[in-house]
């Protein structure tokens, strides 16, 4: 049985389905159509979104060496049933023309797939967006995405990378492990009974769609680039905003954080999390001595404070802040809530919708 995805969403007016209203085939069938549309589109979301600022004609994500090397690396969380991500990379060569050694490659480690941009793809001295796809696979519910560059005397540069789950082109048969079930064509019409099975599937699907994983932030440092010492977040108070849905009020955890850090002596990364304008709560992630790119995760639990910035639907901004420490010898005052590890390399924040 086919499971058609409508081209557009036609919302269903609940009042047309209330007791006393005639059950029309067009109204009941619209439930299934709206659900299938949602199944195709709700999971469509970014998992990596990072940009590098261009100052005085160059960006820090640049490589001159013709030998390909990994310059940035991100972890993404598993989406049940997700097997392919879409990629958009904005790149150029700094000047002149692209030679045979210039390349920009986005690579999935577990999925063993790659998407490459080079002179054949049209790489030249103009900023352009290039799109592709990557197969992904899951090891411990994670996949690693790498950005690899190879340049020449004229550096290859990347201004932005976007990796996202595409909208589904077709809906799978049966029920996914997280409870989503598509509606078969003709399954919901007025002259067929709304069986207990179908009703339960609709409920379970609505529930599962409201709890899909969402990546709010994904940041990587840079290695093997033109400039040295880019392998950490600069030592100032970084902040990131994302929406906090009202649903999250029912949950103990607002966000999950994955942090990669290094430290010669034992230290900590302090992640400050604001559910509200009244201030930040802090979570401390400890790293042992001699840590080298160690990965740790942390739950950022909700606070009772109101959101920082009210939105429609009671969706609120929430903020996360990380303040890497500079060389202690350069402090003139000691700012509060500063991390004490030597380097914070990357940070990923995600939630379940």
């Amino acid at each position: 049985m086919a499971r058609t995805i409508p081209a557009t969403l036609t919302p269903v007016d609940p009042s047309t389905l209330l007791t006393g209203e005639p059950l029309k085939a067009t109204t009941v069938a619209a439930l299934g159509a709206a659900l299938n549309w949602s199944l195709a589109h709700v999971a469509r979301a970014p998992v990596i979104a990072q940009a590098w600022a261009e100052t005085a004609g160059s960006v820090p994500c640049a490589r001159t060496s013709p030998v390909p090397a990994t310059v940035a690396e991100w972890v993404i969380p598993e989406l049940e049933g997700g097997a392919v991500v879409s990629v958009v990379v904005i790149a150029r060569v700094r000047s002149g023309v692209a030679g045979s050694s210039h390349s920009v490659t986005v690579q999935s480690v577990n999925g063993a797939d790659s998407f490459t941009v080079n002179a054949t793809s049209g790489l030249d001295a103009t900023w352009k967006a290039y799109t592709g796809t990557l197969d992904v696979a899951w090891v411990l519910s994670r996949e690693t995405i790498r950005l690899r560059l190879a340049g020449a005397a004229n550096a290859v540069e990347v201004a932005s990378l976007l990796v996202y789950w595409p909208a589904l082109a077709s809906l799978p048969a049966g029920t996914t492990a997280d409870g989503r079930t598509a509606v078969d064509d003709g399954e919901l019409v007025a002259d067929r009974p709304l069986s207990a099975r179908v009703g339960s599937q609709l409920y379970a699907t609505i529930d599962a769609l409201g709890a899909l994983p969402r990546v709010h932030l994904n940041v990587s440092d840079l290695r093997n680039v033109e400039l040295a010492n880019q392998d950490r977040l600069p030592p100032y108070a970084h902040q990131w905003l994302s929406p906090r849905f009202i649903d999250s009020a029912d949950r103990a955890v607002d966000l999950y954080a994955l942090v990669v850090a290094s430290s010669a002596a034992a230290g900590s990364v302090i992640i400050q999390h604001s559910g509200g304008a009244g201030g930040f709560s802090a979570s401390t992630i400890d790293f042992g001595a001699l840590s080298v790119r160690d990965t740790k995760t942390e739950e950022l639990r909700r606070t009772d404070r109101a959101g920082a910035y009210a939105q429609d639907l009671s969706v609120q901004w929430q903020a996360v802040r990380v303040w890497p420490q500079p060389d202690p010898a350069t402090w003139d005052t000691l700012p509060g809530a500063m991390s004490t590890v030597d380097a914070v390399h990357s940070l990923m924040l995600w939630s379940f919708s």
């Binding site: 919302p11 389905l17 549309w37 904005i90 967006a129 207990a196 040295a228």
Partner: protein, 213 residues
């Protein structure tokens, strides 16, 4: 059709009303419709926070835990952005460090929306110190010098579609994804930011959810 969808949170519904031997009530069907509308209206959207990486300073004098300078620093940022299929307008927040006074030029940040081919869809919005929308944030240092603190500035969700196709960027407002002959809904767009004497550290983008589907 324009159907209001509620601001109620998505409550996981009970499967009890759909169990065998219970009558199928209009209330059950209406609740399913409400749930599906809420899922689509609230979650078939797109949002992202784009981290904008700056060069890591290595000069000891600049490693004081703050942004050391923005005066004369003019930047350009191109960030690919996934527009949701229902998202007709976007709210933008920018994390910026700039000076509150002085400097060789007046700090400003302009954000516009383009398609991936570089065509301008919304001419954009502008925060600038001269009109008070980019006030800057500095702390005094013990030696009398100042240091910069990154600060968020918000566009808000007010829509003024006509300004999307104006000649110049306007005061902060929501950016339009459907303007002139362009329709970015469901497509990848490019959020293009340019600064004068300001450093941009992050761009957060949320849809304007609205109240109806």
């Amino acid at each position: 059709m324009s159907v209001p969808y509620t601001s109620r949170r998505l409550v996981p519904p009970s499967p009890l009303p759909t169990q065998s031997a219970r009558p199928v009530l209009g209330q059950t069907l209406a609740a399913l419709a409400d749930g599906i509308n809420t899922v689509a209206g609230a979650y078939a959207r797109s949002w992202q926070t784009v981290h904008v990486s700056q060069i890591v300073e290595t000069a000891a004098a600049n490693l004081n835990g703050y942004v050391h300078s923005a005066n004369g620093v003019n930047q350009s940022i191109r960030a690919a952005y996934l527009v949701g299929p229902l998202d007709e307008a976007l709210q933008v927040a920018v994390l910026v460090s700039s000076e509150a006074a002085g400097g060789t030029s007046t700090p400003s940040v302009t954000v516009q929306l383009e398609d991936v081919g570089g065509s301008v869809v919304d001419v954009g919005i502008k925060w600038q110190r001269s009109d008070g929308s980019l006030r800057g944030n500095e702390e005094e240092r013990p030696n009398g010098s100042r240091r910069l603190v990154p600060t968020w500035y918000y566009s808000g969700d007010l829509r003024r579609p006509g300004l999307a196709v104006a000649a110049l960027p306007s005061l902060p407002r929501a950016l339009e994804t459907v303007a002139s002959t362009y329709d970015l809904r469901g497509a990848v767009a490019v959020v293009r930011a340019s600064t004068v004497s300001a450093r941009l550290h992050a761009v957060a983008i949320l849809p304007v959810w609205g109240q109806t589907l």
